[in-house]
């Protein structure tokens, strides 16, 4: 199993990313709730990357690659040439703080860390690769 999708870094492309991930997971027979959570995590990671590393420039591109690590793991790679936006370096924000500061951001990191089993970063062929692993 291997699925690949490339798109520009415009937030308008998030729907295309969600559709791609959903279709790939349909092929793998993943249940609806888990599928919804994975789609959400990929949406959060890609929107963070588009906003913080690419300033939503539609001419910049990112790729998504989905592979099966083994029977129990699916690996999602987000590949781009931007600066690393490493969510592991951000403390998971406290909900009360987010409410009192009226912050509309910060929840995405909580979601991704809740949904994915591992988030790691690596360099490959001059690209930045964010690798998310989900145990199923």
């Amino acid at each position: 199993m291997s699925y690949q999708f490339n798109t520009g870094c415009s937030l308008n492309n998030l729907k295309g990313i969600r559709d791609f991930v959903r279709k790939a997971l349909d092929q793998e027979g993943i249940n609806e709730i888990t599928k919804g959570e994975i789609v959400l995590a990929l949406d959060e990671m890609c929107s963070n990357l588009m906003i913080h590393a690419h300033h939503c420039n539609p001419d910049d591109s990112l790729g998504i690659r989905i592979t099966r690590g083994d029977r129990q793991h699916i690996i999602f790679e987000i590949i781009d040439k931007g600066n690393v936006f490493d969510i592991n370096q951000f403390q998971t924000p406290d909900l009360d703080n987010l409410i009192h500061q009226k912050r509309k951001g910060g929840l995405g990191i909580r979601l991704v860390k809740s949904i994915m089993d591992e988030v790691e970063y690596l360099n490959r062929d001059g690209n930045t690769v964010c690798r998310l692993t989900k145990k199923i």
């Binding site: 998030l14 729907k15 009192h100 979601l111």
Partner: protein
């Protein structure tokens, strides 16, 4: 892509959210709620029947109003959520911080009770 419609019913402003709310469309939800508050509504019901998807950008909009609504005694109740949308609220523990009900009737009743 999201469509938002508003309807006033028995003293409540009902906001119908149709489609998907992500980082590209959450601003529309934010502007609609801000407009409702600006018009002086004190009971705001969010109809989520046709809400297919919500990401943290949309959840953040609801959260950002929690303190303001407490201060201004505005009651916001969400209702009619599909299971997968409700699950997103649950993952973050927002189901305990926001008023969420199954039906419009229950949502109205809660908004009325909280307004007393």
């Amino acid at each position: 892509m999201v469509h938002i419609k508003r309807l006033q019913e028995e003293g409540a402003d009902i906001i119908h959210v149709i489609g998907e709310i992500d980082a590209s469309s959450s601003i529309e939800l934010d502007l609609t709620i801000a407009k409702s508050v600006g018009e002086g509504h004190r009971k705001i019901l969010i109809d989520c029947h046709a809400l297919e998807y919500i990401s943290s950008a949309g959840l953040g909009v609801f959260m950002s109003y929690i303190d303001e609504f407490k201060e201004k005694k505005i009651q916001m109740v969400l209702f009619g959520m599909q299971e997968r949308v409700a699950n997103t609220f649950s993952i973050l523990g927002l189901a305990d911080l926001l008023n969420i009900r199954q039906t419009k009737g229950e949502a109205k009743q809660l908004a009325d009770e909280l307004s007393v």
